[in-house]
Amino acid sequence: MRITVIGGAASTGKTSIMMHTLQHIIAKGIRPAVVKIDCLDAGQDKVYASLGIPFAIGLSKDLCPDHFLATNFIAMFKWAKLQKADLLIIETAGLCNRCAPFIDLAFSICSIDYTTSIKAPAKFGPIVKTADLLLLSKGDLVSQSEREVFNYRLKELNPCAVLQEANGLSGRGSKKLADYIMQRKDIDSLEEAALKYSMPSATCSYCVGERRIAECYHHGIVNTMTFEEGDYV
């Protein structure tokens, strides 16, 4: 079974573009299964289900969705195998830009929206740096020259990644994306897989539900900012 992970901020067009892409894949006689990872129920479960393919949703709720994803990769892989799928697509929201939701054995797609300003690529960090393909949407809304600067900066951050533009409304670009996804080799298990980028050491009191902010409630690994005299000018 092949495996692809697609991550990226909310509303960048992940689901719209994947819906077009999956139709090309299904037309080739491939059976995909999709898992969507989210923090809260976004009520979008019907979108993928409308394709008549195995679909599951994983809600991380109080946990960091990236941690939740890391601990559920193998379970999702086994589930998709049980569904007799040829391809597993995992869609997840990359949230704080601190992490990347990718593993080495899966094809990694980072979805980015051109309207986030050309200053943005530098802020994206690991999710851009560790992706195999950068999926660019909403290019029809920004000037040509800004797109060129944007692409250049992405290439600087990740020279190896493929840049693919796509339009979630018309489906343009979805066939090429489908080809990239299908180029990947089948794998039997994820037991040997590793995250491409380490997750943060989130082991403070707030990780377990603390809400009071006074210093006496800071437990575990905390990192407090220090301000020198000069900083208050």
Binding site: H20, H24, T115, S117, I118, K119, D140, L141, V142, S143, Q144, S145, E146, E148, V149, Y152, R153, E165, A166, N167, S170, G171, R172, G173, S174, K175, K176
Partner: protein
């Protein structure tokens, strides 16, 4: 080396297959795209931009003879989003295009963007504060002065404050493939070929005739006249009867 793109038929809004075998467009030629609003002209540009392979709404297939051509596009919906001064942005853009002399590049872009009677864009102006016409003017100038492009797609450049004939001249000197969506008869007749759209599909592919070339010379005169009247109006002048009659004479 990239030289041509070939377009294979898709479907119009009535789901009828377009009636041609294939169309081949060449580098160094200008193609005008004409047709009523909503007839599929802009969709065609988006197909070319991503070299669609049946994966757009029109289901056209577009192939290049070799490699992936670099397509630059000015659509009607584009905006400047970044909070930067004009000069700062053109300099950053120049470095991405590997243009060494960014200072003179910046001057050339601004000179082109400002070469009509619009209020000038200053290097210190912020991109997001430019007027609609100024933004489009600057976007077109940026596209015209981009040495890396192979295919240039321009959607209605007549509504920007820029000398559209000058832009065409620069692009042709640089041997680009140029496609222009236009409602302006002058621009439509300046091109080597016309592609006509109706109801979402291509209906005609026409080569410019000698007669049209002749007519175009007359239209250029009319255009000059219209420009002078436009200039007078913008400067708060009254239009005298003589001016109008003179223009009429040219048209006859």
């Amino acid at each position: 080396m990239f030289n041509t793109i070939t377009i294979y038929p898709g479907y119009n809004k009535a789901n009828q297959r377009e009636n041609y075998e294939c169309l081949t467009l060449k580098k160094g030629s200008v193609y005008s795209i004409v047709g009523p609003t909503g007839s599929g002209k802009s969709q065609f540009f988006e197909d070319i931009e991503l070299l669609t392979d049946t994966d757009g709404v029109t289901k056209r297939i577009i192939k290049s003879n070799e490699g992936i051509p670099k397509v630059v596009h000015l659509s009607q919906k584009m905006n400047f989003m970044v909070e930067m001064s004009v000069q700062e942005f053109i300099t950053v853009h120049a470095s991405c295009l590997k243009i060494d002399d960014s200072k003179s590049h910046c001057e050339q872009v601004l000179k082109l963007a400002n070469n009509t009677s619009g209020e000038p864009i200053l290097p210190s102006d912020y991109l997001t504060k430019l007027s609609g016409g100024q933004s489009r003017s600057l976007m077109i100038a940026n596209i015209a002065m981009n040495p890396t492009s192979d295919i240039v797609l321009l959607d209605e450049i007549e509504n920007a404050g820029i000398d559209r004939l000058k832009v065409l001249e620069i692009l042709l000197d640089a041997n680009k493939m140029v496609l222009i969506i236009t409602h302006d008869p002058l621009l439509a007749l300046l091109s080597d070929y016309r592609i006509v759209f109706k109801n979402g599909g291509i209906t005609h592919f026409l080569k410019q005739t000698l007669e049209e070339k002749q007519l175009n010379k007359q239209l250029l005169q009319v255009d000059k006249k219209l420009n002078s009247i436009r200039h007078s109006l913008r400067n708060g002048l009254e239009i005298k009867g003589g001016q109008f009659n003179e223009q009429k004479a040219v048209m006859e």
